[in-house]
Amino acid sequence: MPVTSQLFRGFPLAKLWGSSLFPCQRQLPCCPTSHRPTSSQPHPIWPTAMPVRGYRRSPDLHSYNLTPPQVNSILKANEYSFKVPEFDGKNVSSVMGFDSNQLPANAPIEDRRSAATCLQTRGMLLGVFDGHAGCACAQALSERLFYYVAMSLMPHETLCELEAAVEAGRPLSPILQWHKHPNDYFTREAQTMYFNSLRTYWQELIDLSSPGESLGPREALLSAFKRLDSDLSLEAQVGDANSFLHYWVLRVAFSGATACVAHIDGSDLYVANTGDGRAVLGVQEEDGSFSAHTLSNDHNAQNENEVARIQGEHPPSEKKTVVRQDRLLGLLMPFRAFGDVKFKWSIDLQRGVLESGPDQLHDNEHTKFIPPNYHTPPYLTAEPEITHHRLRPQDRFLVLGTDGLWETLHRQEVVRIVGEYLTGVHQRQPLTVGGYHVTLGQMQGLLAERKARASLAFQDQNAATHLIRHAVGNNEFGAVDHETLSKMLSLPEELARMYRDDITIIITQFNPHVVGHQGTWT
């Protein structure tokens, strides 16, 4: 894969300052030196002149014509489904299962996803992570964040048992059961380091709690998010004797990622969100139609509270510079994120860490780059906003998605598409002619299109795939159109990012037989 092309891939809508700091490849590099230095790149183009959010639609350039099976194989490459196993013919969990999928625009993709069942405590964890300036930070989150959450949720006694087992060299009982697509990988080399950091965290949790105590889900999520971000930061500052690992922790810390995580335990749904991912609940109304209930706030310039928060955290002199062109310090689109130490560390710390870092860093001019008007760091936090929702029978599903989805489809449309897919009913707005002048020919064309759209629903076995098909393939009439799909999916790597962002989706379906009937015993 030509690393060189990577720098500009994201620029039209780059979340960060124009270029990736560190290249990242999906296949773990066995040899760090295989990464070509990025210093040869031209000077990054600033996003100032670019529209904030807006892609080119329907590429006019010459593109390959993909056949429907080709389109399907692209769309389905990353799809994954999990069904909660039934016990005694019954699913007693509030979750029936989930469908997830992702479609890259960056190469390699910078989004990550995770799903796991907590084995020591109850509940299920699902999360989408949108990386920027590389995928390292998102990758680290996808491996580590759920362990931090699981630890935080554990009662004092369980933590003590865990510690005793590690102490005595006994095998540990598993904490999480992961539900992973083969493409969702773990960084094997970093596992020891990750484990040590995690152990330090639970030791602290043991010290800070007393027997019989455990954190509630809200506190647990908050604590886990903050702790992991601080661990990422610390690991980068401390470095590692292994030069690959040293390079890796720096890549993690200097790249960034948003996280949108849901914890579902019985009828209690907690959403912890950092950044501009989003969790939307699909609620089925009495008339059978679906409406969207958003469970998270986007942390970006469109959120007035966030702008006010950031402006309030810095001296009034910085009021005009801290948010410019709808970006943090004129550079970063999400206003909260993991990693991104360039927005968190003092200038001195950044310089110190880089100077002692591996050689690879020195070749990259941008690592030395300090954001403009950088006076009172930190400017960025990983602290999540947490929402609690008590599931009701009408709550049918939860859509977790990275901003790549929400930019292309309105949440109401998302919920309608998923709802109709899951119920198998097409709540399409019935057509009425009303007082308009419609000819028979026009009507025929319109109906043919609607018919094609309806038949698409049967192509997908996965709700997330179906949603991506709509997100990418919708034409101006809101109908999936093979031509559009084919064009969008056959874009050359270096152009794809101009038309769309990475899209990652997890759609969790609730069990209506369990949800809403638990009030008596939970």
Binding site: R428, P430, L431, T432, V433, H437, V438, T439, L440, G441, M443, Q444, L447, A448, R450, K451, A454
Partner: protein
């Protein structure tokens, strides 16, 4: 939805805001002010009835009538329907003259298009039938179509049928005109009056309970259309009116740039599933889609009909078919898509007549989207029915008594009408069967037969085997083959027939209707002697074939009666007689607690052992000699078969072949079947189906009720005088008419036609309803036909009558039959045929000494 002019109020009835009070009594109350109800009122009034009250829950013609497309076409599947449509047409044509009310009648003619040869054949067959009725029609080439209609794209057409007499009207205006004429004849019409239920006493209608009070009456007519089912269920004794609604859509366009002339013919493109008529300079086009949307399964009130939703997505296939047929319409603007629910019945025919359980309760509903075309004729027939006891034509195919309670399940109706509605425009090839609502009534042997390759047809909800596919045959291709030509099952049925002739076959005939009539004294005999044409005062154990005739001497039923005991009779009737025959018997039964009638159809499994070796099989199973010497023909004995005792064994087969019918109490059915099959093995026994039976009985000139015999056919007309007890003094029903007819001579005669010069492989097969020509002149129609494997010819049965001389019908003479060149017209092609009055005696060779034969020689001598 003011598609047509909004329903008008009747000046004579309701002009004031204060509704005039209902009368406290009337002779007849009609419920339903749609086109059907007003037609019934109109015709009753014309026949001299007084004290007629017509009740409508909303406004006159505000239901389906207001929304229907207004096409009056004679292109209908069966002849009685064509007749009704033809009468309606002439009625509507002259209505304006009669009443002064404009009806929008335009004699546009219509074009039935054929996109393929099979459709063209079915249109040609229709043309043959219409010719018989004297209804003008022309089979035309595609080029002529474009001369008649400016918009039709003819490129994919193979031909068309032009019906110049067809017309369009404005249905609410016709409704209004009929109501006006009825009111002029004294019919009282009350709008906004809802019938809650019908009161009954001792099986008679006594009064009608409405939301505005009760009306005492003798007769009630349920013309409630969509709501007829619910209304039937609402009465004290539930009345089964098996119909179910489906949504029906049609499109109205704005005027074309060059407005379409009102006289432009109606187009019916059945292959495209659409119809199109001119409407206010534009078009009105609807269709009968493959995937109809049933509606009102749970029942609704009338308000719902006003707020039906348009569904463009559902209409898409029909819109595409329309634009394919008339591409120029693409630029035409949409006015509206109308959703107009129609009611459908389980067999695509309307429901007419007196209900079986309640005297005085008549029904006319379930018009299968042809309400306008049928209303006139159907109203006339029903009025005649109520006046004279029966209409002037055979309406058995429409008689509500062809159904019973078993067709009243909502689930059944919902599923069945989803099949029926597309069927309106489906190509119907000979011997098609309904696919939905099946396996309702089955014999205990069903599974056994099914695993042996039985292919099934359904009669009155009962599954009957058509034939058995031998192991190794390609089942799928057999089921898929539907043709007007030689069918794929030809050789299979041929083998079954051969086995019946040479060895022995077993046919499960459990579907037959079986009644037991018993009395303490001779009341049962007295009743049967009154109802049956043949003499039933026979020794115990004898079987009598007899008709049950009406006053006119026509067959109400054709059955076999067994005198089981001195005062106990076992009556075997055709399957679809279950409701009709029951009600006929009940109607004539004296109110005598000592006389008891029971329907025992479900108690017995009937196996028909046909073939020369049947006696060997039964002999082995019962240790009783079954030879004709010991067990003469038309004789019944209770005996043991295998381990099972009490089996009624009858020496008859309904085919003229030697053999036995076994009436087996159902719990023994499997045992007896197994024993018969295992013992029969060495005699070459095999299963056979109804197609084999049919071939056997038709080649021997056996008439079947419902197919060949009807309430307008007398025993004399079909050579069954030997089954009439003329030699006794017993006054049976129809005797006077028969005596009269015997004196005058019959003017129509049931004959057998053996097709000659007909290539079984290449020529179209006869079915039924084909015109018969004598010396080039139309003289009758066929009623059934089958290929005779013995004669290696097609045999058609049918009625012929000589041309009338100065208006009065002429009597049939032997010369008329024997000295004439007969031809049978199959889809326009005439095939020479040899006419016969008697079957080939060679076919009966093996039964020379049998009773049947004695009777045969008896009447052959005449």
């Amino acid at each position: 939805m003011g598609i047509w002019s909004s329903p008008r109020r009747l000046a004579s009835a309701v002009e004031t805001t204060q509704p005039i009070p209902l009368p406290s009594q009337a002779r007849v109350v009609i419920c339903g002010g749609g086109i059907v109800g007003t037609s019934v009122a109109y015709h009753l009034a014309k026949l001299g009835w007084t004290e007629i009250v017509l009740l409508e829950q909303g406004r006159l013609g505000a239901g389906t009538t207001r929304l229907c497309a207004g096409i009056v076409s004679v292109a209908k599947p069966i002849s009685i329907e064509c007749k009704m449509a033809d009468y309606s047409n002439s009625l509507y044509e002259h209505l304006e003259e009669e009443t002064g009310v404009k009806t929008g009648y335009v004699k546009t003619g219509s074009l039935c298009l054929a996109q393929n040869q099979d459709r063209f054949l079915s249109l040609k067959r229709l043309a043959s039938r219409l010719n018989v009725m004297g209804i003008p029609c022309n089979v035309i080439k595609p080029k002529e179509v474009s001369k008649l209609h400016p918009l039709v794209n003819i490129h994919d057409l193979v031909g068309a049928l032009h019906l110049p007499g067809d017309a369009v009207v404005s249905p609410p205006d016709v409704n209004h005109a009929l109501a006006t004429a009825a009111a002029g004849h004294g019919v009282q019409i009350h709008e906004r009056t809802t019938v809650n239920h019908v009161m009954m006493e001792k099986g008679h209608v006594t009064a009608v309970e409405t939301d505005r009070g009760a009306i005492e009456c003798e007769y009630f007519v349920n013309c409630a259309g969509q709501w007829a089912y619910e209304l039937g269920q609402a009465s004290e004794t539930k009345v089964s009116v098996p119909l179910h609604g489906c949504e029906h859509f049609y499109l109205l366009s704005k005027p074309l740039p060059e407005p379409l002339q009102p006289s432009t013919p109606v187009v019916m493109d059945m292959d495209g599933r659409i119809y199109v008529r001119a409407w206010q300079g534009g078009v009105l086009s609807g269709g009968f889609e493959k995937n109809p949307k049933p509606i009102f399964t749970e029942g609704r009130n009338q308000l719902e009909i006003q707020t039906m939703q348009e569904d463009w997505d559902h209409f898409e296939p029909m819109l595409s078919a329309l634009l394919r047929r008339m591409p120029e319409l693409e630029v035409c603007e949409i006015q509206q898509l109308v959703n107009c629910p129609e009611s459908f019945t389980p067999d695509m025919r309307c429901l007419m007549g007196e209900t079986p359980g309640v005297h005085g309760y008549f029904v006319l509903a379930g018009m299968n989207a042809s309400g306008l075309a049928f209303a006139g004729g159907a109203g006339k027939y029903l009025a005649e029915w109520m006046t004279y006891g029966y209409p002037t034509a055979n309406v058995w195919p429409l008689d509500i008594k062809r159904f019973g309670n078993l067709q009243s399940s909502r689930t059944f109706l919902r599923h069945r009408v989803m099949e029926v509605m597309p069927l309106l425009y489906n190509l119907k090839v000979p011997r098609w069967d309904f696919q939905t609502g099946r396996q309702l009534r089955t014999s205990p042997l069903y599974d056994r037969l099914d695993t042996q390759g039985a292919r099934w047809m359904e009669k009155h909800g009962f599954e009957r085997a058509k034939y058995f596919i031998p192991a190794g045959k390609d089942l799928l291709s057999l089921d898929a083959s539907k043709t007007f030509y030689k069918p794929d099952w030809f050789d299979i049925v041929g083998a079954e027939v051969k086995c019946c002739k040479e060895a022995v076959c077993v046919i499960d005939m459990s579907s037959f209707t079986k009644f037991e009539l018993t009395s303490t004294d001779d009341q049962a005999l007295a009743l049967l002697q009154h109802l049956c044409a043949n003499d039933l005062d026979v020794p115990v154990g004898h079987i009598v074939h007899t008709g049950m005739l009406n006053e006119r001497g026509g067959y109400e039923n054709d059955c076999s009666v067994v005198r089981v005991k001195k005062n106990s009779f076992f009556i075997i009737s055709p399957t679809d007689q279950q409701v009709h025959c029951w009600s006929w018997l009940k109607k004539h039964m004296p109110d005598d607690p000592q006389l008891h009638l029971e329907d025992v159809s479900w108690k017995y499994t009937a196996l028909n052992l046909i073939g020369p070796r049947a006696m060997d099989v039964l002999g082995e199973l019962s240790y009783v000699s079954m030879t004709p010497e010991h067990f003469p023909s038309l004789f019944c004995k209770e005996m043991s078969v295998g381990y099972a005792n009490g089996i009624r064994v009858m020496s008859m087969t309904h085919t003229g072949e030697p053999g036995f019918m076994l009436y087996i109490p159902i719990e023994y059915a499997l045992h007896v079947y197994n024993e018969v099959m295992s013992v029969g093995q060495k005699y070459g026994i095999r299963n056979a189906g109804y197609y084999a039976l049919r071939s056997l009985r038709i080649e021997k000139f056996f008439a079947f009720w419902g197919q060949d015999l009807d309430p307008f056919t007398t025993p004399l007309e079909c050579g069954r005088e030997f089954r009439v007890k003329f030699d006794t003094d017993i006054d049976f029903l129809g005797r006077a008419s028969l005596l009269h007819q015997r004196q005058e001579g019959v003017s129509r005669r049931f004959i057998m036609l053996v097709l000659e010069d007909h290539d079984t492989e290449l020529d179209l097969w006869p079915w039924w309803g084909e015109p018969i020509y004598r010396n080039g002149e139309l003289c009758g129609t066929t009623t059934s036909s089958a290929y005779s494997y013995t004669l290696e010819r097609h045999v058609c049965l049918g009625f012929v009558s000589p041309p009338s001389l100065d208006g009065s019908p002429a009597a049939v003479t032997p010369d008329f039959i024997n000295r004439g060149d007969y031809e049978v017209d199959i889809a326009g092609q005439r095939y020479p045929a040899k006419a016969k009055l008697y079957p080939f005696s060679s076919l009966f060779a093996q039964q020379r000494r049998r009773k049947d034969e004695m009777e045969l020689s008896n009447f052959q001598g005449k």
